[in-house]
């Protein structure tokens, strides 16, 4: 085939090909050590103060899905990206690209839920922007949010800090958001009770850091690309080998059912209110207690550990006693044909 000369949808899927785009085109051009770390946000230091700075753009179809909408997602997403850097989120910006003809009532609903989400998360939206483009130049509504947060002294969370012996924690059930969005999508009108898990995680993180301090090595919220991609990213950044256990991963029966029906692998579906943490064993119990005390973390579980082995490798012990390799998402998943 001819070489790729245009951006494809897969470049945005959050998996391997998105990574390559970043590595080959973006990083060399902007060349900065904070960027090259590939954390969920940049971790910066100025005049003795450490802070995190993060940005994310939100496009989701449908805009309203069971359990939330794009507005809540945009606030919680950036709050969570900051939290994954160990930061206490403080201020957010919000920018909107609106398509001509977008219903004002829907816009209002989205704004209201953003305000509510910001209030619930204890962050302030302090600057923003609105652009309107002609019909067809954008799909209804895109949102960008950026945020800054302070990193308390003594906190050193980074995706390259996972180490042999660490235990791997998942804060709740897998793939709820991915499935809720799929179920709401046109043409796939499934009856399902699954709700998106969108939730701010910074309080949970603060409690974890309070309980575990430096023993909390790495944090990530497995959004696009799912748990599989997040684990693989940390394993590669930290050059460690990770083993997870299928039977320990919390998965709702409805989610499992829909995934099976469509041939989707829940390891690669998005989560919007879950985190995965790499924790030194000595603080494990205290950290787990801290996570479980948060409403979004009551189903938290240890799902694996870092073991000696080839750097960058993630293996899953399957429930039936087999083994399989876990790689990054290799391109958006499609329902099976057969």
């Amino acid at each position: 085939m001819d070489p790729v000369s245009r951006i494809l949808l897969d470049h945005g899927s959050g998996g391997r090909i998105a990574h390559r785009l970043l590595r080959d085109r973006v990083l060399p051009v902007f060349d900065h050590p904070a960027l090259a770390e590939l954390n969920d946000g940049a971790i910066l230091e100025m005049e003795g103060v450490r802070f995190a700075f993060s940005t994310d753009s939100y496009t989701v179809d449908p805009l309203f899905f069971p359990g939330g909408n794009i507005g809540e997602l945009a606030v919680n997403g950036t709050v969570n990206d900051l939290a994954m850097c160990g930061a206490r989120p403080l201020f957010l910006s919000a920018a909107f690209i609106l398509e001509e003809g977008f219903p004002l009532a829907d816009f209002q609903r989205i704004l209201d839920s953003m305000a509510q989400a910001a209030k619930a998360a204890g962050v302030a939206i302090v600057t923003g922007d609105t652009k309107v483009v002609p019909r067809g130049a954008a799909d209804r509504l895109f949102i960008n949010t950026s945020g800054v947060g302070l990193i308390p002294p003594g906190i050193r969370v980074a995706s390259r800090r996972a180490q042999a012996g660490d235990r791997v924690l998942l804060s709740g059930s897998l793939a709820d958001h991915g499935v809720s969005v799929l179920a709401g999508r046109e043409g796939l009108a499934f009856e399902t009770s699954v709700q998106s898990d969108t939730a701010p995680l910074h309080r949970m993180v603060a409690a974890m850091l309070e309980a575990g301090g430096e023993a909390v090595h790495a944090l990530r919220d497995p959004t696009r690309g799912g748990l599989g991609t997040a684990l693989k990213e940390i394993a590669e950044s930290s050059a460690v080998s990770v083993v997870i256990h299928e039977e320990k991963i919390p998965l709702k029966p409805e989610v499992a059912g829909l995934c099976e029906l469509l041939g989707f692998d829940p390891l690669y579906l998005a989560n919007e209110g879950k985190l995965v943490a790499f924790v030194h064993p000595e603080a494990a119990e205290a950290v787990l207690r801290a996570v479980r005390s948060d409403p979004a973390g009551k189903d938290a579980a240890w799902i694996g550990e870092v073991l000696p082995g080839p750097p960058g490798r993630v293996v899953m012990q399957t429930r039936i006693g087999g083994q399989r390799i876990v790689d990054m998402l290799a391109g958006e998943q499609f329902p099976r044909i057969c």
């Binding site: 041939g263 080839p310 006693g321 399989r324 390799i325 044909i337």
Partner: protein
Amino acid sequence: MVTRRNDEYRDATLVGELAARIRRLSRRPLRIMEVCGTHTVSIFRHGIRSLLPETITLLSGPGCPVCVTDTAEIDACIALARRPEILVATFGDLLRVPGSRSSLERERASGADVRVVYSALDAVELARRHPGREVVFLGIGFETTAPTVAAAVLAAHRSGIENFSVLCLHKTVPPALEALTALGDLRIDAFLLPGHVSVVIGRRAYLPFFERTRLPCAIAGFEPVDILQAVAAIVGQAENGKPALENAYRRAVAEEGNPAAQRVLAQVFAPADARWRGLGVIPASGLAVRAAWAAFDAARRFSLTATPVPEPRGCSCGEILTARKTPPECPLYGSRCTPGDPVGPCMVSSEGTCAAYFRYHDASAGG
């Protein structure tokens, strides 16, 4: 994962017992082809290979509908997508499959109207909503999908929808099995027969094939216990020298299959010669729209002719689909060819052998 669904078919104890039985029974090397792509994925996802003794080799066959679609057929899909009056509706899996120069995904990035749908009926709905456009559904898949596409044609006819047609690329499984075993150096000792396809066509449909080849066969479901039961059955047959056509998926597969689905399929489609990637043209192994439904046949409607084109240089898909090579034996595997940047279709489809190897290759097998 923590789920109660299908527990009995994923029970670790039961799986352990079956695996132990297979290890006890199996003495001589046995190469078993799983014909169906859904089996391939299930085998990888559950790490089933890591449970089997070294004597047993599981090979993936031509049962991924996307993988056996010929390059010329993909080119035809692309040619349709390039016509401004046409809206192409397709299963997502076909988007990334490389044609000789481009793919549907790239055509879409260049402005072609290509939409992903989840069923042929969704494409009929698109046609209803866009009366000014020609909606062409890419009909791909085996006996499982073909009846649903036939039903969509009937539905479009009933609702008087005239801007809907199907590019029929459907293929059927039994003739492909015949063709596989007719190849010169057969390197397959037994067949794990597909589950969903068998639900439609029934055990009976494989009888002529079995009578001719007398190779051990078992129809299998998709859960680990289903697959291991079928493997155990095959090993038993092979070790006792008593090949059989066993139905190890009785809870879903009837002797006669599903007559209603067979009727709908036969009403709209008739058997036709088809070109399979890796296997060439196999007589009566595909489906074509019957003349009575010519108005819904995109090939007739847009006067398409498929000119055979060579397969991508260096791609071993053909040998992989016929069990002459495993993906790591392809020189392009993992280097030039990855799921993000595939050379052949086996690396694209979620059920493709190369893609499954790439994603899930058993750690125990040496990664």
